[in-house]
């Protein structure tokens, strides 16, 4: 199952990037995708595929529009800070506790924090705390409200979080 999924993902990428659909190029693609799949099938999916992976993928795709909306909102906030004549920034380092356990959800949360403007994840300490640099009080309050963490936990079905 892992072999087939990896092969299909690779082959889809081949088709998009090559853009030539004659027999010669497609057969080249099949050969090279099969070779790469054979050599590195355990790279994409470490564990066996299950129903959970599909659920996580669908939920992650649903999460992206919300993330984009947040990015636009907070980018406008940063643009306001930059263009304001007095530049009302209040930089601070926030220590943010997290309940997330899995590698993937920790990475997704850290990247989401960094993507929303006004906050940068500087470090993860002992997989329990994030050190986050915030540029104004508003973004720090938004972050400490923990809305984003709940959404991430929902995507990856972390233990200890109730489903809404």
């Amino acid at each position: 199952m892992r072999y087939i999924t990896t092969f299909l993902i690779l082959f889809l990428n081949w088709l998009i990037w090559s853009g030539m659909f004659d027999a010669f190029h497609i057969s080249l693609g099949v050969i090279s995708c099969a070779l790469v799949t054979f050599l590195s099938h355990d790279l994409f999916f470490k564990e066996k595929l299950s129903y959970r992976n599909i659920v996580e993928t669908v939920r992650f795709i649903k999460y992206i529009p919300w993330l984009l909306y947040q990015i636009v909102l907070s980018n406008i906030h940063v643009a306001y800070l930059v263009l304001h004549p007095k530049m009302p920034i209040e930089p601070s380092m926030v220590r943010l506790e997290t309940e997330l356990k899995k590698d993937l959800s920790l990475v997704a949360y850290a990247n989401s924090i960094t993507l929303t403007p006004g906050t940068i994840t500087a470090d993860i300490v002992d997989r329990k705390h994030y050190i986050v640099h915030c540029i104004s009080k508003k973004v720090a309050d938004d972050l400490l409200a923990g809305d984003m963490e709940k959404r991430i936990a929902h995507i990856f079905e972390e233990a200890g979080y109730k489903e809404d």
Binding site: V78, A79, L83, S92, P117, T121
Partner: protein
């Protein structure tokens, strides 16, 4: 025609965010605040500009080759979306490890 107008709007708003990122880089007082301005404004600016280009590419009609080119442009945007926050985080962490002191709001009020 509609697609052209849409792409112009997207590119103009993208350039606006690039502009604020650059102004922020020049105006903000310390290392971390400057990372804030550039790391983020660039991501959204690049995303908007690239989607504008992708939409403009479709304005001559939806053929297989033009759709493929648009998909490739959006894949570039996706790559920037993954790579840019990672790079921002890496630079910030390097600064923290090297002992660059972050400027706090108490310092600003002096």
């Amino acid at each position: 025609m509609i697609l052209t107008i849409l792409s112009v709007l997207l590119i103009i708003s993208g350039i606006f965010f690039f502009f604020t990122a650059t102004v922020g880089l020049l105006r903000f007082p310390d290392f971390y605040c400057r990372m804030q301005a550039t790391g983020k404004g660039d991501t959204l600016g690049a995303l908007l500009c690239l989607s504008g280009i992708a939409v403009y590419n479709l304005s001559d009609g939806f053929t297989l080759s033009s759709v493929l080119v648009s998909i490739k442009i959006m894949l570039i945007a996706f790559f920037i979306f993954i790579a840019n926050p990672t790079a921002t985080h890496a630079i910030t962490r390097a600064g923290l490890n090297a002992g660059v002191k972050p400027l706090m709001k108490e310092d600003l009020q002096k």
